[in-house]
Amino acid sequence: VHLDPELLSRIQFAWVIGWHILLPAFTVGLASFVAFLEGAYALTGRHVFLHLSQFWLRIFAISFGMGVVTGIVMPLQFGTNWSRFSDAAGNVISPLLAYEGLTAFFLEATFLGVLLFGRKLVPPAMHFVAAALVAAGTLSSSFWILATNSWMQTPVGYEVIDGRFFPKDWLEIVFSPSFPYRLMHTVSAFYVTTAFVVLGVGAYTVRRGQFMTEGRMMLRLALWFLAIFVPLQIVLGDLHGLNTLEHQPAKLAAIEGLWVGGRGVPASIIGWPDQAAERNLAEIAVPRLGSLYLTHSWDGEVKGLKDFPPDQRAPVAVVYFAFRIMVGIAMLMLAVVVAGLVLMARGRLDQARWYLRLCQIATSLGFAAVIAGWTTTEVGRQPWTVYGLMRTADSVSPSLTGSDVLVSLLLYVAVYLVIYPVGLSVMLRFVWRGPIASDEAAPVGGGRSKSPIEALAAATSEKPT
């Protein structure tokens, strides 16, 4: 069996980033949600906001910790497996990665400490500021890492000397053409993902009949938020798609499963893209619809895959289906939100047990959509690391053998399959315990030691204020 270090390195990168991205997808939104709850508590003094903030902070601490340790893996992947890419693009992308560390990790680490340990030490307004700064840190992290990714997708502001990229205009590099759309679409996706988790947990809490005030509040906050953000996200996705049409036409053709370009192209609803035969099998397509939504004109011109040499096409089927899964999930989300709004208008939201169960099932929808969307954009970038300029095949570390990468991949698989289920079960345990104040949540008897966070919170609360 021939083991290809490039293919295995790609699988390894997909594996470590696929698991890692689930955590920012959750913590970016959760940090903002906690900031909102802290702000609401500081303004209104209502205890429901305090209880909810404490409840979600416990879950935030776990997911943030997992995000830190799986995040450290990421920059080193550039060196271990993609050293030729690092050498070629280092001059351009490295400051963006470094600024992520300097601006985001610093803010998050500082003020997460205040959030977790400082409840009794600082006034509620300051506690809110700390929460807002943690949220700002997560957004700053998204900003810089997506600026890096966007430059790889739509590179500008560089010059090539001896096969390496050198910066010419930093403003252009940071704000590359796909960046504003990617940033908005991704951050909005993270917010929607978190809101569906809050919706599901709220539904579970209400269905169980305990902590009704907190459960009802979660359900309503999430529904109102989603009523705005799910439609907004669909619009942002459309704008991002139009940006892709302009700057990455080969990727867009793979998304659409469009082999033959031209004027008045059809929209492929579903089918099986056959890369070798250069056509879609068993396809259902609507004539001219593709041109209509891509160019907003019945006979707008769109490039097809055949307009690009075969060695410049992404694996079409992966991109094609990932995109359809993402869009399908968006439609499901919309249906869940509309049903919830109708029930709320009729005053039956808390009694409709079928709907509460549906919301629980919908908890993971956002995560699935994020993975599908990420697959669409990243596999769609293939066969390039720097779109149109540097091939993935030319990016991999030359020293690696297939068995080197197989060993590392298997170890990453084994370790992530241990830590993610444990992390999930720990967070689920918090959900089962419910949104009660942390001092009431202390385990009764049993001799269980307190965690550092609980012990510290208890200790700081004993300090004279």
Partner: protein, 336 residues
């Protein structure tokens, strides 16, 4: 063209400080992790872990800044060194995952407490060992052609690098013991002092062996240290190192609480200095000098603007958080 400032010395200094801060800060908390399972009972283990619980995360952030800083300041060095130490980096990352999550999972996933206890201790030791192997193979140099590492991923495992790995385990454990002397009292402190002395013996032997081994394997390094007048000018390095070992030994035995930790840090400063003297001005030994490997002027300048503002703020915060969590650690009421 406007005359531009030479930024290479500035970035060399920033990166050197960043890497040293990582080694010093994560060094002692990895060391505490290694000593963890030797603690006499569970309540002692709780104390040992709590002594680093609020700060380990910030300490580890320096690893990210160090590695991304290397990519930013000396991209070709990053592109050569990191793939050359493929497996040690892999070991380190997986070990850090287990160790980092053990802090939370040990309490939350109480059914598997023993598993996470061992994960914490073994993860800490493995991460330290892997970093030592990285250091050892870095000193030995890599098989480079053009701008890429072209050796085998197993080249980095040599008797020298494995010895360096074991040496760093002792070094970090010494820092960890020094930290525990500061943070604990009574019987637990006595335990930390006793362990600290054993780690000091290991550290001293490792420093001595590496100091003799390096010039033997590399004639350039031998020439740098033993030619005249260098042998006179550089004589303070081994002399101060020897003095620090004696001082650390004494401090672990008498009543002073901070001296052993500071002496341990001093040993790391001297070792760091010794390696720098041996290798300067190379960043990829035998192939690239700092200047040859430096990023473009524009890259260095763009990142420097923000770094000069952000790095002092980060240092202030780090100092502040250590101030907040100062004093002895106790299990019954956490920190006081």
């Amino acid at each position: 063209m406007t005359p531009t400032l030479d930024l290479v010395p500035i970035w060399t200094t920033i990166l050197a400080i960043g890497v040293f801060l990582y080694v010093a800060l994560d060094g002692f908390d990895l060391g505490v992790g290694m000593l963890y399972n030797f603690a006499p009972d569970r309540s002692a283990r709780d104390l040992v872990m709590n002594s680093i619980a609020p700060i380990w995360d910030g300490n580890e952030t320096w690893l990210v800044l160090g590695s991304v800083g290397l990519l930013a300041a000396f991209p070709v060095a990053f592109a050569i060194i990191i793939p050359a130490v493929y497996f040690p980096i892999l070991m380190m990352l997986l070990a850090l995952i287990f160790r980092g999550l053990a802090f939370e999972f040990r309490y939350r996933d109480a059914e598997h407490r023993t598993f996470w206890d061992h994960g914490f201790a073994a993860g800490s030791a493995l991460a330290a060992f892997a970093q030592g192997v990285v250091l050892g193979s870095f000193i030995q140099g890599f098989h480079v052609e053009g701008r890429q590492f072209l050796g085998s991923s197993l080249d980095c495992f040599t008797p020298f690098s494995i010895f360096a790995g074991i040496g760093l385990i002792f070094g970090y454990a010494l820092l960890g013991a020094g930290w525990l002397v500061i943070k604990t009292e009574g019987a637990l402190q006595e335990w930390a002092r006793a362990l600290g002395r054993r780690c000091l013996i290991g550290t001293a032997l490792a420093i001595a062996a590496v100091s003799l081994w390096t010039p033997l394997v590399d004639s350039h390094i031998a020439a740098r240290w033993f030619s005249f007048p260098n042998i006179v000018l550089l004589a303070p390095v081994p002399l101060i190192t020897g003095g620090l070992i004696w001082y650390a030994w004494r401090s672990l035995g008498n009543g002073s609480e901070y001296a052993a930790f500071i002496a341990g840090l001093g040993l790391f400063v001297m070792s760091y200095l010794g390696i720098a003297i041996s290798l300067f001005p190379m960043i990829v030994p035998g192939h690239f000098t700092l200047r040859q490997a430096a990023a473009s002027q524009s890259t260095q300048a763009f990142l420097l603007i923000g770094t000069l503002f952000l790095l002092p703020v980060i240092l202030l915060y780090t100092g502040w958080s250590y101030w907040v969590f100062r004093g002895k650690v106790r299990s019954d009421i956490g920190y006081h």
